[in-house]
């Protein structure tokens, strides 16, 4: 299940504190073994996740991004995940326009008690990203150019 340095891919997770982060904790407490590729960033609410975070990750070298929040209607902040769902769905449709494979991005809902489900989500998503292989990396010179452009614009 575990991958050595060569085969491990870069997967970034954005999880809401109340449900999914708790669900990942529950999976840990239950010792549900998972692939090691995923790194989790904790945010208060899935509604806090700016699509930009996902984009930045993917553009800067992530092979996959996974977002998880509370189940619809269970949001700790009553409606944050509804905003998240709308934004992330839009993002998914927008990714191909940017030349990014939209299959590298997934969002899901996991509650704090669903440790087993979290394990399955991580396993499935990791396998799925491994099937896609490493993301094509952007040309560094292109990136430098873009950055320079950005700088001139900002100035």
């Amino acid at each position: 299940m575990s991958a050595d340095n060569n085969t491990e891919l870069r997967i970034v997770g954005f999880l809401c504190n109340w449900c999914s982060y708790g669900g990942a904790d529950t999976a840990g407490v239950g010792r549900f073994q998972q692939p090691t590729d995923l790194r989790i960033i904790r945010v208060p609410c899935s509604g806090r996740i700016d699509p930009l975070f996902v984009l930045k990750s993917l553009v800067n070298g992530a092979d996959g991004v996974l977002v998880s929040g509370c189940h619809p209607r269970d949001c700790h902040y009553s409606e944050g995940n509804f905003y998240a769902r709308r934004r992330l769905e839009m993002l998914k449709r927008f990714l191909p326009i940017l030349g990014i494979d939209e299959r590298r991005f997934e969002y899901t809902w996991v509650s704090a008690s669903e440790g087993q489900k979290w394990k399955t989500v991580v396993q499935t998503f990791t396998e799925h990203i491994h099937e896609l292989g490493p993301a094509p990396k952007l040309d560094a010179s292109l990136l430098k150019k873009a950055e320079a452009l950005n700088l001139t614009q900002a100035a």
Binding site: A27, T36, V59, A140
Partner: protein
């Protein structure tokens, strides 16, 4: 910036599958890290002391602890760094136990992952800012909405504890459903004898202001300082003058008014006092049936009232109250059983609800406690009870158990035998749920001592036959069909959320489930709190509950309020949004999306800007990801802080050039 990193062994919990020493060593090479070490049990006293020591010795500006989940020990370590003189928000955690050591066995991969998590925490910490909570005064008054037994208990507990209480009840008397009950399980003590004195206490308590016939309008403000507008409905009687003598109700010629208190068994007069023990004991006019108000004639009550209390021109009145906490106790309502066409859909006069039956059993009810059939006034010989009408039935979208119907049906079967020793009762049930103290014994008594015949199965249909009703159902234990000829059929209708519960929830900004019951903050550990600070729940507004449970919750909610009010000032969580006035273009998008109404428009030198009301903001950050300008930033989770974590993981500099 000088950051200290502490990597925890957690005994062998982490050290077993993560090379903690190596993580600590490599962490030293991360930008801003001035000190790093690995410790056995960071959360223990020596572990915490080590952090305090290191902060002082190395002049650290912030600390990263790599150990368990922040959901567990973040508060612990925040206090630790505070002890050493740092701001508690200059602290981050890397979860290398639940998210690393416990879920993977490959030590090499785990160590790599742990180091990544540490570098993310370090990167975020480098962007952390000192945050200070502000303090504000608490208004130590409490609003209780709903005057059923739960609300009464909560109001009395608060008032006895010295708090000023405002109690708002929708109907013209407090007491709720319990006031309508005859006797109560499992002790068969008289409901009004145990509730009555409590109701009187409410009326006489110097700390309680009671608004009956009233409803809550707008609610603004936040924990410690809510402003509530209350609408006092016109009763057409000056309650200051009314003594409750009842002379008007005796003389009122309009006798066909809906008798809400008696569950519409019989009728009442247009001007009425719902029942003799009503609190407040004041008359009110039902405008729908008053001849004076509908036709302009009559005026009898005005003539007979000895205190000249009648006011035909009375209007609704608005009052404002300021409180620091709110207890919601709006109870439940009964499922509309007429949706069951197979039970007659309301067409058979002698098929009645359980609550109507309580009124027939009650000595203060419309029949003086003599059980008679609504159709012909005859005493019934065979009474059939049907349980789970509108409970545990997906076909009517009520999949949940109403909790108390098994028990009250057993009670009603016992009372039926008490009232009419010659009668025979049948109960159709799905399962008997009697898990409370003395509850199972109670239902057994109904069967064994009182000879009630329990039949396990659903009733398929009821149809009239002569002056009786045939109740046809299955007996799933015998595997046969059964038919019982009944004189009276009593439906144990289920409980559903009180009418208007979702609308009230919107005003309070609390959540409700798909059936309208209010949601507690945590189903096990925070059962009377809501996710809106300062708003608490009591009784069956949260889900069907019997009297003991409703009373317990009333007291629990009151003690939460006492706890909140035990301080004079509250500290607000500084992890809230802040607007950068220079960036804000006043588009108002954040105002539209904030689920808590925490953002308002503000005038800044003639320009419209957004402004966050500190005490209302809950810190979700929905606004931050909405703002097109990046002007409104959730503190401690700013764009920069989260992107710092992203950058620590995905660095464009490491991008391979495939040329």
């Amino acid at each position: 910036m000088k950051i200290g990193v502490f990597v925890c062994h957690c005994g062998s919990n982490i050290a077993g599958t993560v090379d903690v020493a190596s993580v600590a060593e490599q962490a030293r090479n991360l930008p801003n890290v001035a000190f790093s070490t690995d410790t056995m049990y960071t959360c223990s006293e020596p572990g915490q002391d080590e952090i305090v020591q290191a902060i002082k010795e190395h002049g650290l500006d912030g600390v990263v602890v790599a150990s368990c989940t922040p959901r567990m020990h973040e508060p612990t370590f925040r206090k630790t760094v505070e002890r050493a003189g740092l701001n508690r928000y200059m602290f981050e955690m890397a979860n290398i136990r639940e998210h690393v050591s416990w879920i993977g066995k490959d030590k090499e991969a785990n160590t790599r992952k742990a180091l990544d998590l540490v570098s993310m925490a370090v990167a975020k910490l480098a962007n952390d800012r000192v945050l200070t909570p502000s303090k504000f005064d608490i208004n130590k008054r409490v609003l209780v909405i709903g005057g059923g037994v739960a609300g009464i208990q909560a109001a009395l507990d608060c008032a006895d504890g010295g708090l000023e209480v405002v109690l708002v009840e929708k109907t013209s008397t407090i007491g709720g459903k319990m006031a309508k009950l005859d006797k109560t399980f499992p002790t068969i003590d008289c409901s009004s004898c145990i509730l009555g004195p409590k109701m009187v206490d409410v009326a006489q308590h110097p700390n309680i202001t009671l608004y009956a016939c009233s409803e809550v309008g707008d609610i603004s403000g936040y924990v410690g300082n809510f402003n509530v507008s209350i609408t006092k409905k016109a009763t057409y009687v000056d309650w200051d003058a009314c003594t409750g003598c009842g002379q008007c109700t005796e003389k009122c010629p309009s006798k066909k008014a809906t008798d809400h208190f008696n569950e519409e068994i019989g009728t009442t007069t247009a001007i009425n006092i719902p029942f003799p023990q009503a609190i407040p004991k004041k008359a009110s006019i039902d405008p729908e049936f008053c001849i004076k108000l509908t036709k302009g004639k009559c005026g009898v009550c005005e003539k007979v009232c000895p205190t000249q209390a009648i006011r035909y021109d009375q209007q609704d009145e608005k009052v404002e109250e300021a409180v620091g906490a709110i207890i919601v106790a709006t109870g439940y309502d009964l499922f509309d059983w007429t949706r069951y066409g197979e039970y007659g859909g309301g067409r058979y006069p002698d098929v009645i609800t359980s609550l109507q039956y309580e009124r027939l059993l009650s000595a203060s009810g419309p029949t003086g406690g003599h059980v008679t059939r609504p159709s012909d006034g005859k005493e019934p010989e065979t009474v059939v009870f049907i349980q789970c009408v509108g409970s545990r039935d997906k076909s009517v979208d009520r999949p949940y158990c109403s909790g108390f119907c098994c028990m009250y049906t057993a009670k009603q079967a016992i009372l039926t035998k008490d009232h009419m020793p010659e009668s025979q009762s049948y109960v159709f049930y799905m399962d008997i749920r009697a898990p409370g103290k003395m509850y199972d014994e109670f239902t057994r008594r109904a069967m064994e001592e009182y000879g009630t015949k329990y039949i396990r199965g659903r009733v398929a249909m009821i149809y009239p036959k002569g002056d009786k009703y045939v109740v046809r159902g299955s007996d799933t234990l015998l595997g046969t069909q059964v038919e019982v000829e009944a004189d009276l059929v009593v439906l144990a209708v289920g409980a559903e959320a009180a009418k208007g519960a979702p609308q009230l929830a919107e005003k309070l900004r609390i959540s409700y489930d798909s059936y309208g019951f209010y949601m507690e903050s945590h189903i096990k550990l925070r059962p009377v709190e809501t996710n809106t600070a300062g708003v608490y729940l009591a009784g069956s507004c949260q889900g069907p509950k019997d009297i003991p449970a409703s009373v317990a919750q009333g007291s629990a909610a009151a003690s939460k309020v006492q706890n909140l009010f035990s301080r004079d000032q509250l500290e607000s969580d500084p992890q809230i949004s802040q607007v950068d006035i220079k960036r804000c273009i006043g588009c108002g998008k954040c105002i539209q999306t904030c689920p808590f109404g925490a953002i308002e428009e503000m005038d800044f030198r003639g320009a419209t800007k957004a402004h966050v009301i500190e005490t209302v903001c809950q810190g979700c950050g929905i606004c931050t990801s909405t703002c097109p300008q990046g002007a409104i930033q959730l503190q401690h989770f700013t764009d920069n802080q989260i992107l710092a974590e992203v950058n620590a993981l995905c660095q464009p500099t490491t991008i391979l050039n495939y040329e």
